[in-house]
Symmetry: D2
Subunit: 326 residues, 4 copies
């Protein structure tokens, strides 16, 4: 943003008024004779409506960049998924289940254990993005059916990932909430297909996406027909090996508080550590998350993927607001 | 860590037992005939005592790296600062005040406003590390006296930064808690001087320090005589300009939950944004922080530095646990 | 890697022998009585064949992790693309052309100007991955035909990107070298389709991919049928706004010198700055790159995308080895 | 930078003229009626003198931020160190020697081997910044004398690090070029002391410093009296463990080509890998470095620190321009 001054305005007073409103003056725009024409503000200034800044004595005009994601801006803080409200003051939601749908019996058993704990969405991958081609890639279409039946049997909604634009229609048939994974956040062909499916989408942030890039990926979804986008922070690439990824709760607070968008946090992938999942789930909710997505498994030792970070379902009880209210 | 198997052990069973305990097998150690000799575990595995892993059927021995920071490991979760307990189950502490001590009147007025809000430590810089040599560098020794008198007048403790090893004795005379800033976390000459001062130290994490490097900087302090170290996360270098830095609450949960060390969070520098300070302060406490350090100013528009991120003192009331309990 | 010692070996001598071979001892494995059993080596140790390390006096065995990308390891340093050799001692190749194929006339004109400058591959996007849904997305199938005809008319090969698995067969029909973009490096559905196309692939590194993840993406291509993979470094996510991305020539030297794989560098996207493209192109070749990919345009002011980073074709003359030799 | 248009100017033509000069339009400044008032340019636009941009038809004025480091800007590309010219078209210099000065005999022997290879500066630490307090911290004042005598005996200059402001006068007595290490780049007390010493300074970049922060650290040196600053890139913090750090040659090209400052590269610390030091040294020189600083040791297996990354002196012969010319 640039704050342009009226001719003859007292630049120092305007600057103080900007600071009083949490604005960082990054650069001073001067005219040929050294007079101050305006102030450029840093991008990490507090969000204040341009109209309020324009009311400052001496300010002529506020140059606000046009948003590149008007549909995301217009969406609002709450998205309804098959009747369950996410964000915008609704009680926080719990999305849980195994990394992958491994068998019909297992997903049923997990759903059975999760349902009484306040979980709203059953998660589980039918198609798994794996770094190595030699790892388990998911049970595909069959797993979608198992997942749906398990969820239905226990009054849960389904959230599951589509990895291929070709599979989107099938996944959308079984899922209440269509998940786009981190590695596909800028797979624009997939985003377009997901938008066209007509399902609300859970959009995971890419490993090193800026918040702006993340919002623009959401814009792709909305432009192509998605009825709503829920953002999901799952940790970005960090330099410290003591956690699997680096959880960015500053971005969560920003989306929730400033952009007023529904954002969910996945502390399981963010940390990879069972001993840190719950403290960070609590931190996420305190930062303004509309919900948390936590990997659980009835027997992590048998999990085909991500067992070390999976909690046992009963451990979710420590997140009191879910377990107690429902 | 490496888990060595007994000859003839069932490697698959051991692996499952490891996963059941939150351990990521990163690499399989094989003998000349392809038999599994052991498993290397990833650094982001859950912390489990070696003794517990050694009890797994088929495990011969657990290779645990010797800690390089034995004194930090032995310190314990609580540090006492002039009678105020920080960490280890003590009520969370609030450290607050302006970026810099600007005048005697001003620091008195700020202290007066902060005292009834549950603040324990008055902060304020007498020596300011500034990126540019042309910016205000602090009022030095005089400011130390102003700060001490203002704190004493309102029943507060003093936390303030030493930037130069030469100044350490003087700063230690006035401070209850000696602060080492981010840019000096690996200024080993300063760490040694700070240790020798005999004061407990608040050690800010460097912009891109690993947790291990941070702990080793703490080890320098303890080896050279510091009676206790309180760690302070203040945001690391990030790639997204929408916050000033990138707050790493995973590291906070790790220090608090796994290392059992007192860790305080500074959401003011972490975000630079007044509109995100309080949500992230709450998140920090939920993640296990022993306290939060928040910049406040009675008139941010007049601040000589960091005004845009300073809160007004009364805004701390939103952090209920402090305002209500004291 | 872990270096296991023979019982009674002189651990200190072994350690010195390891250091003499460029190995960093990260951790010492000790037995119950404190005797040294082995040394874990850091991942940034120099690459030395295990057999050579095993010949060190006192070493019993070297634990080498099984490679997860055997086909990449077996590929070799040179890939042949429609008769043009890339890597493995072949003269460095120059891949050049506009960001997008904008019209048949324009791509012909650019090809005409590039051909005498030693360019081997004409680049140009028919499908463009754009961060915003409102930006130009490419002319699609039609552009593929224009590109092919322009290349053929001037004796050039074609390299162009496929963004959608659905489009892969069509792109493969027109391209000599199929490009996978950064944002799709872990779009596994696309990698599988690209592999099945039977074309050699230019695989750009994702914004924050580790070298290992990059090699594993190459493994997906080879497992699914690609005859060869050429890696392309185009800058990773950095924290400094003075260049568009952060060029990692350490990874280039690693792939070229240690892994002995063909790797090409794109200094245009890496820097975004016309004034830095040529110095970094030269640096890339000095680091061991098998070629450089440089965006050029006959009139950058008219470019539909990335004009500010495009060079004029004649500026490539400064890269003497190409211009002079052909 | 902001480009302000004349009333009635053809905004589209101006935009094209900007693109033609390598400028990225990041944001369009519009007036109340939607008319284009100006363009904000991205920080990674090519460097073009404001005067040239002001000559574009339709441009009223170019808002250029005042530089915060006028003395660095005025320094020029060449610094003379005890008669040896560094940068600004002078032949590239080679700075070499062991990590630490370990004994008088050893440093003599190393100097003896280095002198015929075109080395200008003998490096070696008397004071060593070590991450752990338990590691070798250097032989101090005595080592300074050994280093000086060894250099003098073989016609070399001395570059060595000061870690403490207290030691600066002593180090300055023995060194031709005073080194400030990465961890101290923003130890402002040390920078001031170094400046006051009157010696030219080799300023290593901090682990995650922006280029602007690096230049501002140089400004501290010049403001406080340093006769010249040579910048040194030694790798920044990366996320990939296959190299010790992440070498940023984009920043080197930027300093050399755009800022026209002398910059030297340390590929030893940047990679930690003996097998990558020489390829990256060559790349650094191709990118515009004024010299390279390479760790060597006559017997790396005996080195008290950093042995695994040290080359043997004779290996420098591969860097032909030094070995042949002198």
């Amino acid at each position: 943003m640039v704050i342009y001054l009226k001719p003859g305005a007292d630049a120092d007073l305007v600057k103080k008024a900007l600071i009083a409103r949490g604005q960082w003056v990054q650069q001073v725009e001067k005219g040929r004779n050294g007079e101050v024409l305006g102030f450029q503000l840093a991008s990490f200034s507090s969000a204040i409506p341009a109209a309020e800044l324009e009311r400052i004595e001496g300010v002529a005009r506020v140059g606000v960049p046009a948003s590149e994601h008007p549909r995301v801006d217009a969406q609002g803080p709450r998205v309804s998924v098959s009747g369950t409200e996410v964000g915008g003051g609704a009680p926080p939601v719990l999305l849980s289940g195994p990394c992958a749908v491994e068998s019909e019996e297992r997903i049923h058993e997990i759903a059975r254990q999760l349902a009484p704990l306040g979980v709203s969405f059953l998660r589980g991958g039918a198609y798994k993005p794996r770094t190595s081609p030699y790892n388990f890639q998911g049970h595909g279409a069959e797993a979608l059916r198992w997942l749906r039946r398990a969820a239905d049997a226990h009054g849960l909604k389904v959230v599951t990932e589509a990895m291929s634009e070709v599979d989107v229609p099938l996944v959308a048939e079984f899922a209440d909430l269509l998940q786009i994974g981190s590695r596909n956040m800028q797979n624009f062909s997939l985003l377009k297909a997901a938008g066209r499916s007509g399902r609300p989408v859970l959009l995971k942030r890419a490993m090193s996406a800026t918040v702006e890039e993340w919002l623009l990926a959401g814009e792709y979804l909305l432009v192509h027909g998605a009825p709503g986008v829920i953002f999901c922070e799952r940790g970005i690439r960090g330099f410290d090996g003591s956690t699997r990824n680096l959880l960015d709760l500053g971005a969560v607070a920003l989306l929730s508080t400033v952009h007023r968008l529904p954002v969910v946090v996945d502390p399981s992938h963010a940390t990879g550590r069972r001993d840190l999942v719950l403290p960070l789930a609590k931190a996420a909710l305190a930062a303004g998350a509309a919900g948390v997505m936590i990997e659980t498994h009835d027997d992590p030792s048998q999990a085909l993927s991500d067992g070390p970070q999976a909690l046992l379902p009963w451990q979710l009880r420590e997140l009191a607001p879910f377990g107690e209210k429902r």
